[in-house]
Amino acid sequence: GCAGPAGGQPTAAVAASELHLGYFANVTHAPALVGLDKGLFAKELGRTKISTQVFNAGPATIEALSAGAIDAAFIGPSPAINSYIKSKGASVVVVAGAATGGAALVVRSGITSAAELKGTTLATPQLGNTQDVALRSWLATQGYKTSITGGGDVTISPSENADTLKLFEAGTIDGAWLPEPWVSRLVLEAHAHVLVDEASLWPNGAFPTTVLVVNKSFLYAHPQTVKALVAGEVDSVNWLNAHPTEAAAAINEQLVAVAGKGLSAPVIERALANVKFSVDPQAQAFPTLITHAVSAGTGTQGSITGLFDLSLLNSILTASGGTAVSAHGLGKE
C-alpha cells in the first residue's frame, strides 16, 4: 500500500519497517562491512530494522533482488548492468558508488608478458562478472580469441575464488583476474605476481568495483528509507577514508563474524592499498563496461539510461557541503 510519486513530493510514502540488505564478505564491500560494524546504517535508518544477507556472487545477489528477498545490495557493476538491460530497466537502480579499483590479473612465475599467455588457462570469479568481462575484453585487445564455452587461444575457466586459489596452487591454472583480497592472497600465499593492474587500463585509474543498488520498486515505495541507507553508506565511506589504519581491524572483525574466518594482516593491508572507497559510482565508465561485455559475449547490447538515481546521494552530499557526483546522462542526479 504505497502511493506513487505522482504529487512530486512523496508524502504518502512511508518508511519501510524493515530493510533487507545484501553484500559480500569481501574487502571491496568494506563500506557495507564497516557500516554494519559501526552501526552507521542503523543510526540513519532509525525505526527501520536492517537485516542482512551475505552473498558470494553477483548473480545470486541479483536473483535475490529480483525475487524480492532483499531490497538493496552492494554489488559489482556488471551484474547490475546485466540485470538492468535484461529487465528493460525494471529491476534495479544504482543509488551510490562504494569502491573503485582493486582488481588485477595475477599469473604464475614464468609469465612476464601478455604474449606468453597463449595456450594458458586463466580463472575468473564468475562468468559475466566484472573481472570476467575485464579479462575477456583485455585479452581481446591483446589479440587473443576467447569463448564463453571454454575454447580459444586462452581458456577462461570461471571458478569460485576459493577453488581458484587451490587450482592455482595445484598448477591446474596459470593465472586469474580477481578482485581483492584474492589478488593479494594469490600474490602473498601462492607466489603469483601481478601482470596487469586493472587500474592501469582506465583513464585516471578510476573504474567502479562496487556500487550500491536498490530494487526499483522499493525505491519508489520507500524513498526515505533508501535515503537513510545512502546516508549510512556516506558515513561509512567517510569513516573508512578518515581511519585508514583502523579500517583493517574493523573489516576483519566483520569477516570473522560473517564468514568465520578473517584475513591475515599482510593480505588485508595489501588489499586495502589497492582499493579506493568512494560514493561516486563512476557512471562514465559504465558504457565502456557494456561495450566490453558485449564484445566478450557475456552481455547484450541495451540502454542503461535511467540506471542511476543519484538524487538522494547528491542531496546528502550537498547538504553536508560536499560536491555532487554526476550520472553522466544515465539517470537522475
Binding site: Q53, V54, F55, N56, A60, E63, A64, L65, S66, A67, G68, A69, E160, A162, K166
Partner: protein, 306 residues
C-alpha cells in the same frame, strides 16, 4: 412351473444330495487350500539381512586396513574411523541433526504438497479422457527431464529461498505421482468395472468402491517413486542453491564440506543421505506396500534377500 414346485419336488433326495455334496466339497477344499508352510518371518528377514551386513563389515575392515597399511593422503582417502569421528563431531556440534531435520522436513513437506497436487491431477486425467490424451504425454515427458534442470530457472524466479527448493521438488515428484495414479486406474482390470456395473453400482460407487481400491497399488508405486524423486531433487537443489535465506540442509552440508575440502564430512553426509533414503523406504513405504499386496495375494512369499 413356479420355482417352489421344482424345489419341493423331492426334498428327501435333495437333502441327501446336499449333505453328500457338502462332504465332497469340504474334502476338495481341504485338499486345495492346504497349509502353505512358509519359513518363519524372523528367519527369512535374518537370512536377507545377515549376508549384506557381513559384507559391509568386511568392506569396512578392508578399507580400514588399507588406510593403515598404505597410508594414503588422509584428505583424499580418510579411513572409516575418520568418517566415524567426523560423524561424531558433526552430530555433537549440532550441524548434522540440524541438516537432517531441515532436509527431512523439506522433503516430507515437498512430498506432501506434491501428493496434494498430483492426486487430484491424476484423478482428473484418469477420469477425463481427452485431457489424458492431451496432457498425459506432456506429464510423461516431464518425467524424462532431470528435475535438477529446473534449479537455475527456479533460482531466477524465486531467488535463493526455500520456494526454489520446493519448486524443484514439486517438478520432480508431481509427474510421478500423477502418472502412478493414472496408470493405476488404467490397469484396473476391465472385468472389475463390469462386475461393479453388473452389481448395480452408480458412477460414484463404481469409482469409490471398485476403481480407487483397485488402483491403489499403482498409486502407491507412484507415491514411492514420487518420494524418491522428491529426495533426489531436494539434494540436488540444496547442493546448488547455497546461500541466501536457504536453511542448512544435508545438501548444503555436503557442499560446505566440499568447500572445506573435508572428505570425511562429505562421506558422513553421503552415508546419512543414503541411510535416510533406506529408512524412509523401510519405515514408511515397505509396510504399507507389503500389507496392501498381501491383502490382495500379490505378494509371493519369497525370501527377502533374493
Amino acid at each position: 412351473m413356479p420355482p417352489e414346485v421344482i424345489a419341493q419336488r423331492d426334498p428327501e433326495l435333495d437333502a441327501r444330495g446336499r449333505t453328500d455334496l457338502r462332504t465332497l466339497e469340504a474334502g476338495l477344499d481341504a485338499l486345495q487350500t492346504g497349509d502353505v508352510s512358509s519359513r518363519s518371518g524372523v528367519r527369512r528377514i535374518l537370512g536377507g539381512v545377515v549376508p549384506p551386513v557381513i559384507l559391509v563389515i568386511v568392506l569396512l575392515l578392508a578399507w580400514q586396513l588399507y588406510t593403515v597399511v598404505a597410508h594414503p593422503r588422509p584428505d583424499l582417502a580418510p579411513g572409516p574411523l575418520d568418517v566415524l569421528g567426523s560423524f561424531g563431531s558433526a552430530w555433537t556440534s549440532g550441524r548434522l541433526p540440524v541438516a537432517v531435520l531441515t532436509s527431512l522436513q523439506r522433503g516430507v513437506l515437498g512430498f506432501l504438497i506434491a501428493v496434494a497436487i498430483g492426486t487430484p491431477l491424476g484423478l482428473l486425467l484418469a477420469e477425463v479422457r481427452w485431457l489424458r490424451r492431451a496432457l498425459g504425454p506432456l506429464i510423461s515427458g516431464l518425467q524424462v527431464l532431470p528435475s535438477v534442470a529446473w534449479v537455475p530457472a527456479a533460482i531466477l524466479w524465486f531467488g535463493l529461498t526455500d520456494a526454489t527448493v520446493y519448486f524443484v521438488v514439486l517438478m520432480g515428484a508431481v509427474p510421478s505421482i500423477t502418472n502412478g495414479l493414472v496408470s493405476g486406474v488404467e490397469q484396473v482390470p476391465p472385468q472389475l468395472r463390469r462386475v461393479g456395473t453388473v452389481l448395480g453400482a452408480s458412477r460414484l460407487q463404481l469409482a469409490t468402491r471398485v476403481i480407487l481400491p483397485a488402483a491403489l497399488p499403482g498409486y502407491l508405486a507412484g507415491l514411492k517413486q514420487g518420494w524418491a524423486f522428491s529426495w533426489r531433487s531436494l539434494m540436488a537443489a540444496e547442493i546448488i542453491t547455497v546461500g541466501g535465506t536457504i536453511g542448512f540442509g544435508l545438501g548444503s552440508m555436503l557442499q560446505q564440506s566440499r568447500e572445506l575440502a573435508d572428505l570425511a564430512a562429505v562421506l558422513t553426509t553421503i552415508i546419512t543421505i543414503l541411510a535416510i533414503g533406506i529408512i524412509v523406504e523401510l519405515l514408511a513405504f515397505a509396510p504399507v506396500e507389503r500389507r496392501l499386496l498381501r491383502r490382495r495375494g500379490l505378494l509371493v512369499a519369497t525370501a527377502v534377500g533374493r
